[in-house]
Amino acid sequence: MKRAKLSPGERAVRIFGYILMILAVIVALYPILWVILSSFKTNKEILSSGLSLPEHFSLDGYKQALEMAPIFQFFATSLMISVTATVLNVLFLSMSGYIFAKKRFRGKNILFWILSLSMVIPTTALLSPVFTVISKMGLYDTKAALIIVYIALSMPVSLMILRSTFSAIPDELEEAARMDGAGFLKNFFLVMIPCAKGGMASAAVLAFLESWNEFTFALILTSSVSTRTLPLSLSYFTAQFSFNYTALFAAITIAVIPSIVIFAFFQEQVNQSLVAGSVKG
């Protein structure tokens, strides 16, 4: 296809787009650059300067971080808990999101509103009741406790996203599948899920990040090193009257790099699933 010459208006739109992209990149890179640079600075440099280069590059911060806190073990636990919670969350919420989007039954709206309440309950108010429930179930200091809580914490957002996603799938697809004699399960897993992959990947990313970064429940609900998660490791470096910011930022860097990689990977998945989807559709 021959490219049409851009009109002045179109060109302005395009330039505006590039400016916006550049600004977004600057805004987004500042924090991560600051964190990474700080992991090479001394405490004194961190507390006396803004965005500047460290005087000497040294890996001391990383060495100290790994000595002071069991970062690798926490890392493994975090990964296990976050992945499990994310998978279960997306599975459960795809199921209910599909029902809310495509099915009709009595009390549907009321049920949806009740579930939506979970979005507006202040997390702070959850702490002590959830601690009681988890203790009564005998789940204190287990990975299962955190997995259940993280499924719940990401529930509101996933519900919203997945309901929107399933609503956007044309009803005709389902009708066609039914004509072909597909049952409820087959229809859901073989027709609906492939079309909802984009939304599911988005929900998964958000659920994963929520679990990966959650601090308070991890603190309250666990006690042994084998159930602790990565965000707790960051507290090792700042006591009330003593601090090691170099090690802190080294630990933050260690925690954040995998998240970025996972996010980039998932985004690529969204892409591919969408491309594949549109070919099919």
Partner: protein, 289 residues
């Protein structure tokens, strides 16, 4: 509704409802019930108080209305401008200009880094002695405009707002995914009809992405009804109560072990949340017609 689908519907809703009952139902009842009690850990008190807590909150609490207003202002800013920013970027990126994949990943990074790190970065940036902001003002000869940004009455509110305002990665990610899932054929057809790219955005893509935009607006509203650690770690809610919002007020009230009163604040948050969601749905609904 097909009769034989009913068991499936129940089965599909079951896990979600079970998680809700386990984690949210009990606290919900405790918050609402607890708001009618005078309940403290120190000194230990537990007595029925009727609507006493509500009367105190609405009529006697000197700070409440300022805090309430702060919360509403932040919700509006977040739902309108923050989402607009994220959506705008998504509309730029879905046309897949050069480097769009890079921007998509990079723009999400601030939302991935832990909040305490972001808070420290802003404390550093706003530092009156060596912070980047004041240094830049000095370098361009605008020393008069230098401030102790987070801790002066006049600048604290906008300064705190900036700690989350620009980081619209969630919105961009969600809206972008929705835009990308559109059938490219429709857009091509519109182009052949001679529509400009702005017209396509407005008339073709926007309506199809609207449902997801509504989702992000609701997410933005509920985010602002949950947010307190970022404020607590930067301005601490001060000076005075200038930058305190309802969730932070709930948190500090709980720290003073006044649980009954904290629950009352919790109920206000829940009601504000429900009303906000209702209004957002209303706005998007009327636009549909």
């Amino acid at each position: 509704m097909r009769k034989k689908e009913i068991p499936w519907i129940i089965l599909f809703l079951l896990p979600t409802c079970a998680v809700f009952l386990l984690i949210f139902a009990v606290p919900l009842c405790m918050v609402i019930g607890g708001s009618f009690f005078n309940y403290r850990l120190m000194p230990k008190t537990f007595s029925f108080n009727g609507i006493g807590n509500y009367i105190q909150l609405f009529t006697q609490d000197k700070n409440f209305w300022l805090i309430f207003r702060n919360t509403l202002v932040w919700i509006v800013i977040h739902c309108v401008f923050h989402v607009a920013l994220g959506t705008l970027l998504a509309f730029v990126l879905y046309k897949k200009p050069r480097g769009w994949k890079f921007v998509r990943v990079v723009y999400m990074i601030p939302n991935i880094i832990s909040q305490s790190a972001i808070a420290m970065i802003f404390l550093n940036m706003y530092n009156p002695q060596y912070g980047v902001l004041n240094s830049i003002l000095k370098a361009v000869g605008l020393e008069k405009l230098q401030h102790n940004w987070l801790f002066e009455m006049g600048t604290a509110f906008p300064a705190v707002t900036m700690t989350w305002f620009l980081f619209a990665g969630y919105t961009t990610t969600l809206v972008l995914a929705q835009c990308l899932s559109l059938d490219e054929g429709i857009i091509e057809a519109a182009k052949i009809d001679g529509a400009s790219s702005l017209q396509i955005d407005r008339l073709v893509v926007f309506p199809l992405a609207k449902d997801m935009i509504r989702t992000t607006v609701i997410m933005a509203a509920t985010y602002m009804l949950q947010l307190f650690s970022m404020i607590y770690l930067t301005s601490g809610g001060g000076p005075g109560s200038t930058t305190t919002n309802l969730p932070l007020y709930l948190y500090t009230t709980m720290k003073s072990t006044n649980y009954g009163y904290a629950n009352t604040i919790g109920v206000v948050i829940i009601v504000v949340g429900m009303v906000t969601m209702f209004l957002i749905n209303r706005v998007f609904h009327t636009r549909e017609e």
